[in-house]
């Protein structure tokens, strides 16, 4: 159990960083870290305090061939789905969070409508699919467009993510029982999902959830759904 008493919590964090917790305790702390801010901050402070001790380990050249193994694993595990895009020309730079919040409700709908119209009017070979992801209060937050077999996202409302959390993008094809992770949303409000991970299709549910650093530890969404929408043909409405 993670103690609520600050002193006990700090002692637990200290031994977690020191490495003396047993497997069960360590697993418990690792499970709690993404959701327990006080614990996370205590661990971060202890890591900072004890960090210089890592310098006591004698450097040893890693074995030959280890890099190749790492490179293969990184290539396999990171589908490189989400990469920052260049800002869309003509769009204002993201405002500071505070001012943004105020301007948001007034401006977002207009921007969404404008962007949507822009996308619909562009000459397009394959049938276009898009959706606007809405907040729980039905405010437009992200424009999602199928593009070249992948997806392209533009934030209508770039907002800072809660400290110590990340936004993770998911797709749920019609009929599927579990969503597929499309990766973490980078800062900056623009992202592109490379083709191959999913095949965008009408009715596909797209959602963004709030997850611990590094993304959902389970491969399924664990945090609240921040934004959600369903892909549909762009000219079908």
């Amino acid at each position: 159990m993670i103690p609520s008493d600050p002193e006990a919590l700090d002692a637990l964090a200290a031994e977690h960083v020191l490495g003396t917790l047993d497997a069960r305790q360590a697993a418990e702390v690792n499970r709690a870290l993404p959701v327990d801010t006080a614990l996370r901050e205590a661990v971060a402070r202890w890591e900072a305090r004890l960090a210089p001790l890592a310098g006591l380990a004698t450097p040893v050249p890693p074995p030959e061939g280890l890099w190749n193994r790492i490179e293969a694993s990184v290539a396999k595990r990171s589908p490189a789905p989400v990469v920052p895009l260049r800002p869309v020309p003509g769009r204002a730079a993201p405002a500071r969070p505070n001012t943004l919040w105020k301007a948001w409700s007034a401006g977002a709908t207009a921007i969404a409508a404008g962007l949507a119209a822009f996308l619909v009017m562009r000459p397009a070979e394959p049938p276009r699919m898009m959706t606007v992801l809405l907040t729980s209060r039905d405010q437009p937050a992200w424009l999602v467009e199928a593009e070249g077999g992948g997806l392209r996202l533009a934030s209508l409302n770039p907002r800072p993510v809660e400290a110590g959390r990340v936004q993770q993008l998911w797709a749920l094809p019609p009929g599927a029982t579990a969503p597929t992770s499309l990766g973490l949303i980078p800062e900056g409000g623009q992202a592109r999902i490379a083709p191959g991970l999913i095949r965008p299709e009408p009715g596909m549910l797209i959602e963004i959830t709030l997850e611990p650093l590094g993304g959902s530890p389970t491969g399924r969404p664990t945090g609240p759904i921040l934004f959600i929408g369903r892909l549909s043909p762009a000219n079908g409405t």
Partner: protein
Amino acid sequence: MALDPAGMIRGVANGEAGALRRLYDAQGSRLFGVAMAILRDRDAAADALHDAVVKIAARAAQFDPARGEGGAWLAAIVRNAALDLARARGRETPTDDPALGDTAVAPEALDRICETQEAGRLRDCLNTLEARNREGILLAFVHGLSHAQIAARLDMPLGTVKAWIRRGLARLKGCLA
């Protein structure tokens, strides 16, 4: 082309070509040393460094230079990967190696790490602890020894070691505050 750890982590986060390789080349020996000190087995340490670098690649965007130094962030990920592996193996790492810890817990060893002001303060604070208490903390952090392993090595009752370490950490915290 930044060679400081924070700059290299940023390069990885930005998806710069070859950034992860540059980081591995520059930091690999230091990080493999961290894993080796805990696992004392080249194959296991290689597994730990592998897991850690894959994690570093995935989490580079989450590194926040305002919250800590880049080299420390990397070492923490490697330590956690090595400790997870040590725990998964029931910490059946050899601890009767006569050379174990001698370099890390020698009285003069701490002088090697005080390149920075923080490290110097940590050394001074560690030096205020009783020698065995300090040794226990160093054996745990650097060599990943469990309470039981530290107790066996220092020939002290397990309960005493647990209490000492807890008290030692609390004193360190007070001293560093």
